[in-house]
């Protein structure tokens, strides 16, 4: 009796084992395409044998555990590579947009800059031509627009960064909540103490870690109760045991149009953790903003300020078609200053650019310390560039701008200074009439027709038209002067006032025929122009210097303006406008290039780690098919055992009848 009963029991255990195994196989087959699924396997054990005189008789077996094929190291590698890969992917996608735009002939600044200066040459070629002047104004206008277009494109990129950040943060929070909930389920799962784990829940949680790492770099720490704690930044827990903690979206303390990542430290307060966030899409977005969008917008603004400042300065030294002194050609708005939202003092600060040659592309932070001293920090490298000083403006100016303050600050107040960014946004045209283009030089030198010598007079340049000699009466020099050589003594001259008549400015000075004469400088006259007399003037010769009234065909100033294209008047006299723009392109190009290379490398690494994980944990259908056959056969065999036991029993009954 014991014989058939044992065989039946053993056969049934075989049936059960095979059923379990077949259901594991079917679970595997079903989830073959589920991302993050780990194939499951069973641990099979034999039942305790029964002792008999014939020795220990086996009692069949049972499935002791169902486990997943899983490698902690490979999973961690996958998480890391996912975070890096998404970081570079996002970075590259955004950077590529800028890269394409900046060098594009239709949207880049370079072609607009070149057309503008070509139009300058056009006016120089034919100063009285209204069409040439029209072309200059049109090209200037489209250059101004181009500055605006690129600026706006950057702004819209920043808006997309803001938008994407505000989409990602709730997503991260919801994943964190799911992980916390899974932690609770896993910790409370029965059998955990005996090493029987809820495989599918663990897979799901691992997959959620992979998902969250697409958004931000995380560190995880397994707890004794089976929970997994998840940290971002330098240890901010977003999941701790069964609780999740939200990241928040905050506005920048200075510029409310900029969003930052906050971390809820209590129900009422949160800390800005933007600078701590690394990796993933969030990390990429934050880096893009600080490494690419901000500096480029600043650099672009710097070019706008420099073009405006240098072109205006030269344009004011010219004379227009109406014989008036040139006015400003372009206009730009003031530099941006943002007081911190939590400033307590009444101080307001204004930043004014003083030298576009010295500007950097950084933003600055002006802080007030406990002793009410001001300090200025350059944010690109956090270097202290001015202060501490009891008052602003700092003397001397630093970094090409000056700060003026009104009202009293309170200790701890701070201001963000953006000297250059507003340039491209606010640039506009002042001149709208072709006749206002100041192509001519406002001073003329004339060699008297009765001169007997061979002396010549040439215009060295006009440097300053704000002095009294230009401003006392419009369209005339006050005084108009003449250099008159003595009628008897060779190479001796007077500088006389012609209009209004006045005492001689210089009497009896000696002319050196080998070096010539710089009329203003050599005589210390202090006028804002210079005329050079050269050659061999004769006795009684006369050179008249007057306002270039009606000198409309002169192109002297336009040649100077055209020359600005090739003048290194930016970045401490090391770069032309176009050089400066090129450096932006190089910067973006290099970053994009780097990101592209890193992206490919990370993709390869990610694929490798995916492959490695799949290799261990993935389901192979052929393998499952073979297993299925294997367990099917075992099942059939066990069923046969039961059938045989049944037959044995029948034989026994029949024999006893």
């Amino acid at each position: 009796m014991a014989l058939t009963g044992d065989a039946l029991r053993t056969g049934i255990s075989g049936l059960l084992m095979s059923q379990r195994n077949i259901s594991v196989v079917s679970h595997n087959v079903t989830n073959v395409n589920l991302e993050g699924y780990s194939r499951q396997r069973t641990d099979m054990l034999t039942n305790n044998p029964s002792y008999s005189s014939a020795g220990y008789i086996g009692n069949g077996g049972y499935v002791a555990n169902t486990y997943r094929a899983y490698d902690t190291f490979l999973q961690r590698q996958l998480v890391e590579n996912t975070s890096s890969s998404d970081y570079y992917n996002t970075f590259h996608n955004y950077a590529l947009q800028m890269d394409n735009m900046l060098a594009d002939p239709n949207s880049g600044l370079s072609p607009a800059l070149e057309s503008f200066f070509a139009a300058n040459q056009g006016v120089a070629n034919d100063p009285t031509s209204v069409p040439a002047r029209e072309v200059l104004l049109t090209n200037a206008e489209s250059m101004v627009q181009r500055f605006g277009i690129i600026y706006n494109r950057m702004d819209s990129l920043r808006d997309s960064v803001n938008l994407e950040m505000s989409n990602i943060v709730p997503e991260v929070n919801s994943i964190a909540r799911e992980i916390a909930a899974l932690n609770e389920s896993i910790a409370g799962s029965p059998g955990r103490a005996r090493g029987i784990l809820p495989n599918d829940l663990l897979d799901r949680r691992d997959q959620l870690i992979v998902e969250i790492s697409k958004y931000v770099d995380v560190q995880t720490l397994e707890q004794p109760n089976g929970s997994l704690n998840v940290y971002v930044g330098n240890g901010q827990a977003v999941v701790n045991d069964f609780n999740s903690y939200d990241l928040t979206i905050e506005v920048n303390k200075y510029d409310t149009s900029i969003l930052e990542i906050g971390y809820q430290t209590s129900a009422t307060s949160s800390a800005n953790v933007s600078s701590l966030i690394t990796g993933g899409r969030l990390g990429a977005l934050l880096d893009l903003r600080s490494d690419i969008i901000d500096p480029i917008q600043n650099s672009l603004g710097r070019i706008a300020y420099a073009v405006t400042d240098t072109y205006n300065s030269q344009h004011r030294l010219g004379m227009d078609l109406n014989s008036q002194l040139g006015q400003d050609f372009f206009s730009t708005g003031p530099s941006e200053v943002f007081p911190a939202l939590d400033n307590l003092g009444a101080a307001t600060v204004t930043a004014t650019i003083t030298d576009t040659n010295l500007l950097t592309d950084s933003d600055y932070l002006l802080t007030v310390d406990a002793g009410l001293n001001y300090s200025l920090t350059r944010l690109s490298d956090n270097a202290l560039v001015a202060g501490p000083a009891a008052a602003i403006p700092f003397v001397p100016d630093v970094e090409g701008f000056t700060l003026t303050g009104v009202g009293a600050p309170v200790a701890g107040d701070s201001f963000m200074i953006r000297p250059t960014r507003a340039g491209a946004r606010t640039m506009g045209m002042v001149i709208d009439n072709t006749s206002e283009v100041a192509a001519a030089t406002p001073v003329r030198a004339e060699v008297n027709l009765n001169n007997i010598g061979t002396g010549t007079a040439s215009m060295t340049g006009v440097f300053d038209t704000t002095g009294l000699e230009f401003t006392t009466t419009a369209q005339t020099l006050t005084p108009e002067i003449a250099v008159v050589f003595d009628p008897l003594n060779p190479n001796q001259y007077d500088v006389i006032q012609v209009n209004p008549i006045g005492p001689n400015l210089v009497t009896g000075a000696i002319y050196n025929p080998t070096t010539g004469l710089d009329v203003v400088a050599d005589n210390g006259l202090g006028f804002g122009y210079e005329i050079h007399i050269d050659g061999d003037p004769g006795l009684g010769d006369r050179f008249d210097i007057s306002y270039n009234l009606q000198g409309i065909s002169d192109n002297g100033n336009m040649l100077e303006l055209s020359g600005l294209q090739s003048t290194k008047n930016m970045l401490g006299s090391t770069a032309t406008y176009n050089d400066s723009y090129s450096s932006i392109i190089t910067k973006v190009g290099t970053r994009t290039h780097q990101a592209d290379i890193a992206k490919r490398a990370q993709e390869t690494l990610l694929r490798q780690s995916q492959n490695a994980r799949e290799s261990v944990s993935g389901v192979n259908l052929d393998e499952e098919a073979a297993d299925m056959l294997r367990f099917q056969q075992a099942y059939q065999a066990a069923a046969q055992v039961i059938s045989s036991a049944d037959e044995l029993f029948d034989v026994l009954i029949a024999a006893a009848r």
Partner: protein
């Protein structure tokens, strides 16, 4: 290595993506003909390309400026050629009219002809370009440069010569001011000129004089007076110093003082005066105008004939000076045109160099790209075929 079924498909898809993106990139390169499409393709080359583009643009601009200069200079040159012809004809007429045998009537008709020349000369000097800008008024382009106020010929422009940039740091004068072309013509021999006092009553006639010693020249005004005492002598007075020049200066011998040597021929009356003044400049219009006045003056007396003869000689010298001056200007214009040709050559050469450098940085090697494209196409096809073949293989197919 163990391969999971999912991994097999994923790897294939990744592979396909890679192949397709490479193919797309090669396709884009071939369509644009450019190796560097965005700066990130090659940031260093991209920056170089940008600066090369600017240089090419500038060089082309210099070329255009050169064309402007050339057109203007060629126009000036053809005008000056006209001026030369006018002056040459006037000179021939003057030499003919200087002959003692010419009647007053003949001289008046010569004067009429020269007046016509003067008028066409004024026409040339006051010409305007296509935009209505006066060509010879310096920077005062909308002011008629030359006018006659009934007594004098006036220049209303200024001395500004317009420059254009035709090369890096190379400006060339595009337009000479009228003062330079028509007004600043040497008087006399360039250091001094002689004249007579219109009140002279004798037939004494001073010659144009010559420089006897250039180092002694003073550029002073002198008056030479025939005093007749003692012994037919001349007295020379330095007006600039207000002092007499020590003599004696006997009649018949050359009068030599302060580096100047003049001769007074004929028979001066006592008290007749002649002057020696430092040369300044005069206009070609004044020269012709004075010539016309001389030609229109009838010969009535010996004194008057001597004055006319002096004036005719002087006119011929002035016309020679004017011709020399215009030729000189034409020479300068021709020189500039020559330099311009050279500069054009340099600019073109520069442009070719810049373009070839840019091409080597930016342009695609088509032969290489076509080969690459074909290979990538083959790769893609192979990947697709392998997948579809291998995809059908599964053990489940054999279980029934």
């Amino acid at each position: 290595m163990r391969i999971s079924s999912r991994q097999y498909t994923l790897n294939f898809i990744n592979n396909l993506h890679d192949q397709q993106s490479k193919l797309a990139r090669t396709g884009e390169q071939m369509a644009t003909g450019k190796r560097v499409i965005t700066p990130s393709d090659d940031p260093v080359a991209a920056t170089r390309i940008l600066s090369l583009k600017e240089s090419i643009g500038l060089t082309e601009q210099y070329g255009q400026n050169g064309t402007y200069v050339r057109n203007r200079l060629q126009t000036e040159e053809s005008m000056l050629e006209g001026v030369t012809n006018l002056l040459q004809r006037s000179r021939e007429l003057t030499i003919a009219a200087a002959s003692a045998s010419m009647s007053d009537q003949d001289r008046i008709s010569t004067a009429t002809e020269i007046r016509a020349r003067l008028e066409s000369l004024m026409g040339i000097a006051n010409s305007q370009d296509a935009n209505g800008e006066y060509m010879f008024s310096g920077s005062k382009g909308d002011i008629k440069p030359f006018s006659f106020d009934g007594v004098n010929y006036l220049y209303n422009g200024d001395d500004t010569a317009r420059d254009l940039q035709i090369g890096p740091n190379y400006n060339m004068t595009q337009a000479d001011p009228g003062s330079e072309v028509f007004m600043r013509i040497t008087e006399g021999n360039g250091r001094f000129f002689t004249d007579y006092n219109p009140a002279n009553t004798g037939s004494g006639r001073i010659n144009e004089g010559q420089i006897s010693n250039i180092t002694l020249l003073t550029d002073h005004d002198y008056t030479i007076t025939y005093t007749g005492i003692p012994a037919n002598e001349f007295a020379v007075f330095d007006n600039s110093l207000g002092a007499a020049v020590p003599g004696p200066f006997p009649q018949g011998a050359p009068i030599v003082f302060d580096g100047i040597e003049v001769n007074v021929g004929g028979a001066p009356a006592i008290g007749d005066q002649f002057t020696v003044e430092p040369s300044s400049s005069q206009s070609v219009f004044a020269t012709l105008d004075r010539l016309i006045q001389t030609l229109e003056t009838p010969k009535t007396s010996a004194a008057n004939t001597a004055k006319i003869a002096f004036d005719m000689d002087k006119s011929i010298i002035e016309l020679d000076n004017a011709l020399d001056h215009i030729l000189d200007i034409r020479g300068r214009v021709g020189g500039r045109l020559n330099t311009l040709d050279g500069q054009d050559y340099i600019n073109e050469d520069m442009k070719i160099q810049l373009k070839s450098t840019m091409s080597s940085l930016e342009d695609l090697d088509y032969a290489e790209a076509v080969g690459r494209h074909d290979l990538q196409l083959v790769g893609l096809q192979a990947a697709q075929q392998t997948y579809t073949r291998a995809q059908g293989l599964s053990l489940f197919n054999y279980i029934n």
